[in-house]
């Protein structure tokens, strides 16, 4: 059998097409996409989630997606500079909470960017007390505030860390107006600072996470660094999607015992406050809508395959893909809810 040059060319073309099945869908996308993230840490949950998504997008679209942990301020600048679609941004609820809390230079993401699909949830946002704390529950904390006792809460101001603190104050206000003044912030930096504030007896409650603090909850109670969970802010729906074995020695059932509805931090008279820390994409508003749609479609296909869900779950994150339109509506609704609580507390 003789093989003509044309046959070889056809075979090579077919092989190339088979090797890159998504090339057609990705043909308009740049070959190199920079995913800037709102954190400058490579050890945090933002980098982890971004890495998982970037790897999946790279494989699926046959392009190179690189994660750059430049921090929120530089990430927004980089996104604003680039309308070609070569720069996209990934961040979480902090991106709109910062603006609600009035942090200088924070953009309104709903006006200045195109909010894209949601990716995943970190169900780990939590509040902890020292192992020997007199507070056994959130109810104890709210009762203490009502009784005029000062409860010091270590947070990093202006974002995810503060929203639970705001919810505590809101719950105290609902329970006994004026008692919210007894729940006071201790402004710290990163998780190390919050832990240290507890160990220095500068804080009665600290914001933390299941991932960062779980091992401290397993220490003997006479250990000076031992802690206890007192509240996990995630919704029960999100926690129920986590692996049953949970994380470390804390099972999913253990976690549910610290979350709503088992723990009640009222947001309104008949609704508990919950908070899921959600990761999502953002785009430059002048980017070609076809490019944005191509990424949204690619994500839908990636999540339909199911492999990415395993990656997220193995790192104790909950996969949560919402198409762009649905994600925009969902995040705008969250923003509005929190805006109401924050402004109600500010106005008093």
């Amino acid at each position: 059998m003789t093989i003509s040059r044309r046959t070889l060319l056809v075979a090579a073309s077919a092989a190339a097409l088979m090797a890159q099945p998504m090339a057609a869908a990705a043909q308009d996308l740049p070959r190199n996409v920079r995913m800037v993230i709102g954190s400058s840490s490579t050890g945090g949950d933002t980098y982890q989630n971004a890495s998982i998504l970037a790897e999946s997008l790279s494989e699926h679209l046959g392009i190179n997606v690189r994660v750059d942990p430049v921090g929120a301020s530089e990430a927004f600048k980089a996104l604003a500079r680039d309308s070609r679609g070569t720069t996209i941004m990934m961040h979480h609820d902090q991106s709109y909470l910062q603006e609600l809390y009035g942090i200088e230079g924070s953009p309104d993401i709903f006006a200045e960017t195109i909010v894209g699909p949601t990716i995943s949830v970190n169900p780990g946002n939590a509040y902890l007390v020292p192992a020997d704390s007199p507070y056994q529950s959130m109810d104890d904390i709210l009762a203490a505030a009502e009784a005029g006792e000062r409860v010091r809460v270590a947070i990093q101001p202006g974002g995810v860390s503060e929203i639970g603190f705001t919810a505590m104050r809101n719950a105290a206000r609902l329970r006994a107006p004026g008692s919210e003044a007894n729940i006071v912030p201790v402004n710290t930096g990163d998780q190390a600072d919050k832990n240290q504030a507890m160990w220095d007896d500068l804080a009665d409650v600290i914001n933390g996470s299941i991932q960062a603090n779980e091992q401290f909850t397993q220490l003997p109670s006479d250990d000076p660094t031992a802690m206890r969970f007192i509240w996990i802010t995630a919704t029960p729906e999100t926690l129920n999607k986590a692996p049953a074995e949970g994380l470390g020695a804390t099972s999913r059932d253990d976690m549910l015992a610290y979350a709503a509805p088992a723990v009640s931090v009222p947001m309104t008279a008949d609704e508990n406050f919950t908070f899921d820390k959600e990761f999502f994409l953002m785009f430059n508003p002048e980017t070609d809508p076809a490019l944005i749609q191509a990424i949204d479609t690619a994500m839908e296909e990636i999540y339909a395959k199911g492999a990415i869900q395993e990656r997220f779950l193995s790192s104790f994150f909950t996969p949560q893909y919402r198409p762009m339109a649905e994600a925009q509506e969902h995040l705008q609704s969250k923003n509005n809810d929190y805006e109401t609580i924050i402004s109600d507390l500010k106005s008093e």
Binding site: T42, V70, E74, E104, P157, T188, A192, Q215, T225, L247
Partner: protein, 501 residues
């Protein structure tokens, strides 16, 4: 898999060799750092697995910290921020033809410092971590303050030195008082119209390589085209030859500097550069010949390098015992654990004994690889000074620009920072301001501010700095001793100068 299995695993050993060599190269190129080397290789840990990934990253860390001594000694440009104090005596030694000797001293001191810290890490990690949590904002501020007192000790003219240091602190505070550090998120000290570029302030590495690298190039450019050095220039005469007898009487310096490096490492947030600065100050203030420091004193090189390599094990103590990184590079290591879904916290060592043993093994082997490689490659490293300067300096400038641009993942203002501070450093020399105190002020300024403000915010009492604990009282003793020694030294220098005239 037990320890022996790791030692027999060619992949594990190969990664340590490769990582150490790559780290040395990164550290040795001005503008590249150990942190950058670890950041570049971090995504590889996805596919390498935890133990092999950590072997690679830890070797990069050890190699990168050590590699910084090469340009510090041969060119007067610190390869990494923690090598700044190595330039103080290493470069003068190289200029008087003792480059090879200085390099060998620095390498041995590095290994000694690294091994001291590994012993501390292996045997005392949980105990040291428990001790580290006794350091609140107040004690951390006093440590930084103690390190800042070195500005006076390092100055040729004390007043000008202190002025330069305060200028460094002032410039380091430009930008946002970041909420991630517990600040209020407000900007300050930014000239009108510069908010867009300066809201994050001036980044440390571009400032550092601008002040040291670009300034040196500008000064050389002023001299025109002098005769290039030759390889013979790095080792002139038998008196400059390296011999182990140099370390006679330096055991205490080695142990003390390694211990200081380890100790600074275990305190999260104090910053790696403080390790070598404090070690150097301790060596100078306790020396019988403090006047020789800054002029090519081997004890200064020993203190600096044993101190910064002491950091490598120390910074892992809080990481592996509390889940809190001790410096910027170990902060990247947390990423390796996180990407593998491994929790790092107080139970890490007891629950991951195999990984723990593998990490210690990797660091010991990496230190030995570093010793052998660098000791026998010194002639090759030293060849850099035989490269004609019209070729060498453009190459260094190019690497500085690349390093400045990549350190924060592609921010062009960092390149401008490099050039601005290059020219600024050149002007400082012309105005007789002092570069070393300036850069120390710039490095330590932000931490000093945060811990000072947080101390006052948390305790609400200005006397808390004196009354907080016995540790605070002890640190005040050290601070006062350092200041008194600096004053005595300054007066002695002045009277020596007067006698000569």
């Amino acid at each position: 898999m037990d320890l022996l299995a790791h030692l027999l695993d060619p992949w594990f050993i190969g990664l340590i060799f490769g990582g150490t060599l790559m780290g040395i190269v990164f550290g040795a190129i001005p503008g590249m750092t150990a942190t950058m080397a670890v950041a570049v290789c971090l995504p590889l840990t996805f596919s390498l697995g935890l133990v092999n990934g950590l072997a690679l990253l830890l070797s990069l860390y050890v190699g990168g910290i050590t590699g910084g001594l090469v340009p510090a000694i041969l060119l007067g440009i610190p390869g990494t921020p923690s090598s700044i104090t190595t330039t103080f005596d290493g470069f003068p030694m190289a200029k008087r033809g003792e480059g090879e000797k200085a390099l060998k001293i620095a390498i041995i001191a590095s290994v000694a410092g690294g091994l001291v810290s590994l012993v501390a890490l292996f045997f005392f990690a949980p105990v040291l971590a428990k001790f580290a949590i006794k350091f609140s904002y107040v004690e951390k501020f006093l440590i930084i303050f103690f390190a800042l007192t070195v500005m006076a000790a390092l100055s040729k003219d004390m007043l000008l030195g202190i002025f330069s240091g305060v200028l460094g602190i002032f410039l380091s505070l430009i930008g946002t008082y970041d909420i991630t550090n517990g600040g209020n998120g407000h900007t300050r000290l930014i000239p009108p119209g510069m908010d867009y570029w300066l809201d994050g302030g001036f980044a440390l590495l571009p400032v550092l390589i601008g002040i040291f690298g670009v300034t040196v190039i500008l000064e050389e450019a002023e001299l025109g085209m002098p005769r290039g050095q030759s390889l013979k220039d790095i080792e002139v005469g038998p008196h400059s030859r390296f011999s182990f007898s140099i370390f006679k009487g330096q055991t205490l310096n080695l142990l003390r500097s390694g211990s200081i490096g380890t100790f600074v490492g275990i305190l999260p947030g104090v910053g790696g550069s403080a390790a070598s600065i404090l070690s150097y100050t301790a060596a100078k203030t306790t020396s019988r010949h403090p006047e020789r420091f800054g002029k090519g004193e081997p004890a200064g090189v020993i203190a600096s390098e044993a101190g910064n390599n002491g950091l490598t094990g120390g910074a892992l103590v809080p990481l592996l015992s509390l889940g809190i990184p001790g410096d910027s590079t170990t902060a990247l290591l947390i990423g390796a654990f996180a990407l593998q879904g491994i929790q790092v916290g107080p139970l890490f060592i007891s629950q991951n004994i195999d990984t723990w043993n593998a990490m210690i093994t990797a660091m010991v082997i990496s230190n030995l690889v570093m010793l052998v490689t660098m000791f026998f490659a010194i002639r090759w490293f030293a060849m850099v000074i035989a490269v004609p300067k019209q070729i060498l300096y453009p190459f260094i400038l190019m690497m500085c620009v690349i390093g400045a641009y990549t350190i924060n993942y592609g921010i062009i203002f960092d390149v401008w920072t490099l050039l601005i501070f290059g020219v600024f450093g050149w002007l400082m020399v012309k105005l007789k301001l002092e570069v070393a105190p300036f850069i120390i002020g710039f490095i330590l300024g932000p931490s000093a501010e945060i811990y000072f403000v947080k101390s006052l915010e948390s305790f609400g009492d200005p006397f808390i700095f004196f009354t907080k604990s016995w540790i605070a009282a002890f640190l005040w003793v050290l601070i006062i001793a350092s200041v008194v020694m600096s004053v005595i030294l300054s007066r002695r220098n002045r009277s020596d100068g007067a006698m000569r005239t």
